[in-house]
Structure formats: C-alpha cells, structure tokens
Amino acid sequence: MSAIAYRFAVNVTPKPGILDPQGRAVEASLGHLGIVGVSGVRVGRRIELTVEAASEEAARGVAGRLAAELLANPLIEAHEIVLLGSGAPGAR
C-alpha cells in the first residue's frame, strides 16, 4: 500500500481562562485604529506540516502525537488539527 501525503494545519491557542498578555495587547491597540466592538482576542500559533501515511487516520494520529507532545503545552494550550489537503508524496 503506497503512502499518501497529508497536509495539516495545527492551530494552537491559549486555553479558555488562561492569561494571554499578547491577546490583551492586541485588543488594547484596536482603539488606536478607531475600531470598536471587537473583543475576546486570543493569540496562538499555527504550524503546517505534511505527514506521509497509509491513511488519513494514521496521518492524524502522527499529527496528534506531535501536537500533544511538542507543538502545544497541554497545561496551558489547546490545539486542533485541520486537514488542508492530500496527494502523492513529494508533491507540494
């Protein structure tokens, strides 16, 4: 069975209730732009990666392990894994 390349985005965000000074700074700056009515700004990070695996399930498993052990700190951050696309290995 040949492997398929799965492209994922891992979105990491501060968990609800966790202090997010970056988000607060962004929110505080909105007034300088003359923008009103924006709230709840949270700053996280997005990591994109390609996993070669036999199935989407297997690829998600690898991405999930990476996210839980390295990309996000489960004490303070939540993460979600989004499939961006898939194709033959080596293709970009």
Partner: protein, 249 residues
C-alpha cells in the same frame, strides 16, 4: 571535590556565570554539552539561563528533547539534585520535572532588574544555607516568567510545601499578583520558584548566580548555590550517588 554539571544548550547565555558561581560556592563545575547523553559523573546538575534553541516554539520545549535532558530526567528520577534557573526553570517545567508552566510576563515587557524573593522553606537542598528567612535580592531577566498552574495544583503545591520562593516586598510580605511591581511578571500567588514532590528538582526565575559575589552588588544568591553544593557534598558523603542507569547511550 563536589562535581556539579551545568548544561550548555545552544542559546544558553548564563552558563559561564553559573559555572563561576558554583566555583565560588565551593564546587568543581563541569560544563555538559546538550548533545551528549553522559553526565560525566557529576553529582548534581544545573540548567542555566538563556534562550535554549532560541526559545523557538515555546521557551524550553525544544531543549526538553535533547539527549542530555533524557539523562537529566533519569538522574532526577534516581533522586539526583537538579536546579533550573530562569530558562532552565522553563526547560524543567516543559519536561514535567517540576509542576506548572511559565507564561509571557503579564506586563508584556522583557524584564531585567533586581527583585526581592523569600525562601518559603529553609529545610530543602536548595535553601538550607540561604540564611534566616529574609528577602533575598537578585536580578530577573526574562520575558516569560509568569508562573501558572491551575487552582487545584496551586493549592496542592502550597499544601505539600512545593512552593520554594515567592516574590516579596522589602518588609518580607508576599507580593500581589496584578499591578504590584514587587511581582515582576504577574506570577500566580507570587510564585518565583517551585520544586517537585520529592524535593530533589527545583526551578526559579531569578538569577542567584548573578548575585553571588559582593562585586556583583549582592551576595544573596550565593546561599542558594552553596545550599546545592553542600547538600550534594553531604549526600555523596552519605553514599547517595544517583546515576543515570538505564539511559541509552
């Protein structure tokens, strides 16, 4: 001679100061490169400050997976004394060797200035020679030092005596959490340092090695380094010599 290792990661920048501080405190300091698995027979380990691996992704997280850290984890599990200072504290937290996490400073700024801390306990390997309970003055230099753990964990840490240092005012009273300059980064419950349940692994954000000689403006940090050195010496004299048995070389 008491051999104490100082781990050097790419981006460590307090390693030389820490090696020197340990020497002043009476140890034979040994630099340990991050790519080696061997601890070269040291009797205790210090993770110094800096920006290990550029602090990419999150402070301390990449360092956690380095070969030396596998050995440090095994050494800690065997009861070996390990102290993390600043970035070293962040590495220990990411590795799960001490509880909690270090968030970005509440005030958003990188902070480099003197602070006052007080040891909550004077009966640990890291504080027993730090003198009578009084404020200790030493510098902080960090952007991500806001100590965080959930309320349940914080309660447990306080109950079990795992809070090692707190930020305090000049009169020794505990600093507040928000808007109190005495708590430089907004750490929850003004926590500046914690240790693991077994009491052999500790981390703190302030820099005792930068306050270990009168010429540096404060000697208050020397007691912390001497505590570690003398505790290590005593343990060795008692035949307690943890190793990294089981580590894959």
């Amino acid at each position: 001679m008491t051999r104490i290792g100082v781990v050097v990661f790419p981006g460590s920048n307090c390693d030389t100061d820490t090696l020197h501080g340990l020497e002043v405190a009476g140890a034979e300091p040994v630099a340990l490169w991050h790519e080696q698995a061997s601890l070269d027979g040291v009797q205790a380990v210090v993770l110094p400050g800096g920006f290990a691996y550029g602090d990419y992704l999150r402070a301390g997280v990449i360092a956690r997976f380095s070969p030396i850290m596998r050995s440090v984890s095994a050494f800690a599990a065997a009861g070996g004394l390990v102290l993390g200072i600043c970035n070293g504290f962040q590495v220990l937290a990411e590795a799960g060797l001490v509880p909690g996490a270090l968030l970005r400073n509440r005030g958003l700024r990188f902070l480099g200035r003197d602070v006052l801390i007080s040891a909550e306990r004077n009966d640990t390997a890291f504080t027993w020679l730090s003198g009578e309970r009084r404020p200790l003055r030493m510098p902080v230099a960090h952007g991500e030092g806001c100590y965080f753990a959930d309320d349940e964990t914080l309660d447990q840490l306080e109950r079990d005596g795992q809070v090692l240092f707190r930020y305090v005012h000049a009169d020794g009273t505990r600093a507040g959490e928000v808007g109190d300059p005495a708590n430089p980064n907004g750490s929850l419950r003004a926590i500046a340092g914690v240790m693991n349940a077994a009491g052999n692994v500790a981390g703190l954000m302030p820099h005792p090695e930068r306050a270990a000689e009168a010429v540096l403006g404060s000697e208050d940090g020397l007691g912390i380094l001497r505590s570690l050195v003398e505790a290590t010496r005593r343990r060795a004299a008692e035949g307690i010599v943890p190793t990294v048995a089981g580590v894959v070389r």
